[in-house]
């Protein structure tokens, strides 16, 4: 990234309080590699031309790292705030200012000789804003999310010399061996793979395989596929809960052919995806779900779990003991 930012969430407190950050703006033509893509700050894509704000007086002497928020790494974390993008030679969605829980990322220099006046005001605001976040809660990172596979379907696809390493090396390299056998190393193969498997991929579970280069390897959940229940969908969780509680022949449909197998698949899915910290103990799944329903969310990057939403935990942790 360089000294500029764009897509700023200008109504956010870090840009308005206690100082109103008055940036110097410039307009530039939208880079070709931004065309056709969206990001958290550009859900409908970047406009052309697009506006850039100056955070440092001039371009740094060496390239700075780029954080790409939409590459399927972390944007599924509840409460994550994307506040500005940096100008990236790689892709739209490169974060330069963001917050997750008590942690804030500032992607520019904070040397006062390099910061513009607006950047200084913003940094001051960030410090006050973060003082407000001292009891914010978030989750621990375990694995990149499944969204990375969708990125491989387009990254470098449109150039005169397409970037093939994504579909030839990185995508298959991120899969368990069994799943590689059902993949053709091409952009079309990546399209087909995503269409068939994306909703049913999972990784990061205890005992699953890891690779030195790619980290946790992704597997396809054959139980969820057989039930037609994407593992991240609320309706799937509710279907598993209903199936898992069925007693043999006691409920409507419970004695249907294949029902017992469905029940076992649902129970395995629940065991696979409901985080042990909130799983029911000595009660039915329905009772558990009725109690926990509003506290739950599904997060890929913690290891593909239905778990307590950190924002809910944050509110609960504010409980003040009354005398």
């Amino acid at each position: 990234m360089d000294h500029m930012g764009h897509g700023l969430a200008l109504s956010h407190p870090i840009f308005v309080h206690p100082n109103r950050a008055d940036f110097e703006w410039s307009e530039e033509a939208r880079p070709a590699h931004y065309v056709g893509h969206s990001s958290p700050l550009y859900p409908d894509g970047a406009p052309d031309p697009y506006r850039l704000a100056k955070f440092e007086h001039d371009k740094p002497s060496v390239a700075n790292p780029t954080l790409v928020s939409h590459e399927g790494f972390f944007t599924d974390i509840p409460g994550l705030e994307n506040l500005a993008e940096g100008r990236s030679a790689k892709a739209l969605g490169s974060l330069s200012l963001a917050r997750q829980g008590r942690w804030f990322y500032w992607g520019y220099s904070i040397d006062p000789t390099r910061m513009t006046s607006a950047a200084k005001d913003t940094l001051v605001n960030v410090l006050y804003y973060m003082n407000l976040q001292r009891d914010s809660q978030t989750v621990d990172f375990v694995t990149k999310t499944r969204a990375i596979f969708r990125v491989y379907t387009w990254l470098g696809r449109s150039g005169a010399q397409p970037y093939m390493r994504g579909v030839e090396e990185h995508l298959p390299g991120s899969l368990v061996p069994e799943l590689r056998n059902d993949y053709t190393a091409s952009f079309e193969g990546a399209d087909a793979f995503v269409a068939k498997y994306l909703d049913y991929l999972y990784t990061g579970k205890p005992g699953m395989a890891k690779d030195q280069k790619y980290g946790w390897l992704f597997a396809a959940d054959h139980d969820a596929m057989a039930l037609g229940t994407p593992n991240h969908a609320r309706s799937s969780l509710e279907q598993w809960v209903a199936l898992a509680d069925e007693g043999a022949g006691s409920e409507s449909g419970a004695a249907e052919p294949g029902r017992a197998e469905q029940r076992e698949r649902a129970r395995r899915c629940l065991a696979r995806y409901v985080h042990p910290s909130i799983a029911p103990k000595g009660e039915t799944w329905a009772t558990w779900y009725a109690r926990e329903r509003s506290r739950l969310c599904f997060i890929d990057s913690t290891g593909f779990w239905w778990q307590a939403d950190p924002r809910v935990l944050e509110r609960e942790a504010r409980q003040i003991t009354t005398k």
Binding site: L67, F74, Q100, P112, L127, Y128, N131, F141, I320
Partner: protein
């Protein structure tokens, strides 16, 4: 005798007044005093090995207590606001903090109890008033949690953005509350919030304390913070405790020294991680935020 004079209040529209505890007293949150003399003088004149051994054991016993008190004191930084006017047996807890940008008030209501975000016919909505001695300016309205029925229940955070003149350090305000359950309201409650507004204490962590680091510290001091410099390699969790926010700096990619960054302690303090070292730091802290580094 009127209902109010007897400590009874009637919920608007209710015909069933019930006893409410309305005797006010002063209360404080988050302020635990240290012993006046930290050495306590108990080792003066002790010379024998028995006495020294006893003293050593006493120290071993007392040290964790003192450290705990220090920790509580550190958490309850000078920004914690003193609160008075909480009725005895109130069905809610309250604490508040202030810095030069915001006043934050946390309320926790017992099950069944609530206050009001807006007038829905049950009781007056919560209101924040400045007292005359304070020179703060409220910026915008008191920010309340979203509520469909106008009631604020369970854990409630109220945030008021404010501006203080650069030389103002005293703060004094009143929070008006009507606290009710399904049948009754307590007497209207006035919570007085008062205290001193201290500068935010920023621990600025750098790879090397050099001119670049000193420039950052100078900038922070100039902008009203109380900044301290420390290096990644030498900073411990205990060093972070007395500060409000950590600002973890980085020079440019390849110019920054990684020494101590990945081993930097996990603390409960908010952290602003800068640039290249920031990505390394956050990854080491188990934060997904920078896992997209390419």
């Amino acid at each position: 005798m009127s209902l109010r004079a007897r400590g009874l209040a009637t919920k608007r529209g209710s015909t069933q007044p019930e006893l409410a505890t309305a005797a006010c007293h002063t209360d404080k949150f988050g302020h635990i005093g240290l012993p006046g003399d930290r050495t306590c003088g108990f080792d003066k004149g002790m010379r024998s090995s028995h006495c020294k051994s006893l003293l050593h054991r006493m120290r071993l016993l007392l040290l964790p207590c003192l450290l705990a008190l220090f920790a509580l004191r550190a958490e309850g930084l000078a920004q914690d606001v003193e609160i008075s006017g909480i009725p005895d047996g109130a069905p809610f807890g309250v604490r508040a903090r202030i810095d030069r940008a915001r006043l934050v008030i946390d309320l926790s209501f017992k099950a069944g109890w609530h206050c009001y975000a807006r007038d829905v016919g049950g009781g007056d909505p919560v209101r924040l008033r400045m007292r005359k001695a304070t020179h703060a300016t409220w910026l915008g309205d008191l920010v309340l949690p979203e509520t469909k029925d106008g009631k604020l229940a369970q854990n409630v955070r109220l945030v008021q953005q404010l501006r203080l003149p650069s030389d103002a350090v005293d703060f004094d305000a009143v929070l008006d509350l009507m606290v009710c359950d399904a049948l009754q309201c307590l007497e209207p409650i006035e919570l007085r919030l008062h205290g001193r507004v201290e500068p935010l204490r920023v621990l600025c962590v750098v790879d090397v304390i050099d001119e670049h680091a000193e420039r950052i510290r100078g900038f922070l001091d100039e902008r009203g913070f109380k900044a301290t410099l420390a290096t990644y390699r030498e900073t411990t969790a205990a060093d972070c405790e007395p500060h409000d926010v950590l600002l973890c700096d980085s020079k440019l990619f390849r110019a920054a020294k990684l020494d101590g960054v990945r081993a930097f302690p996990k603390t409960n303090k908010p952290m602003v991680a800068v640039g290249f070292l920031g990505t390394e730091l956050l990854e080491a802290q188990g934060i997904a935020l920078t896992a997209g580094y390419i």
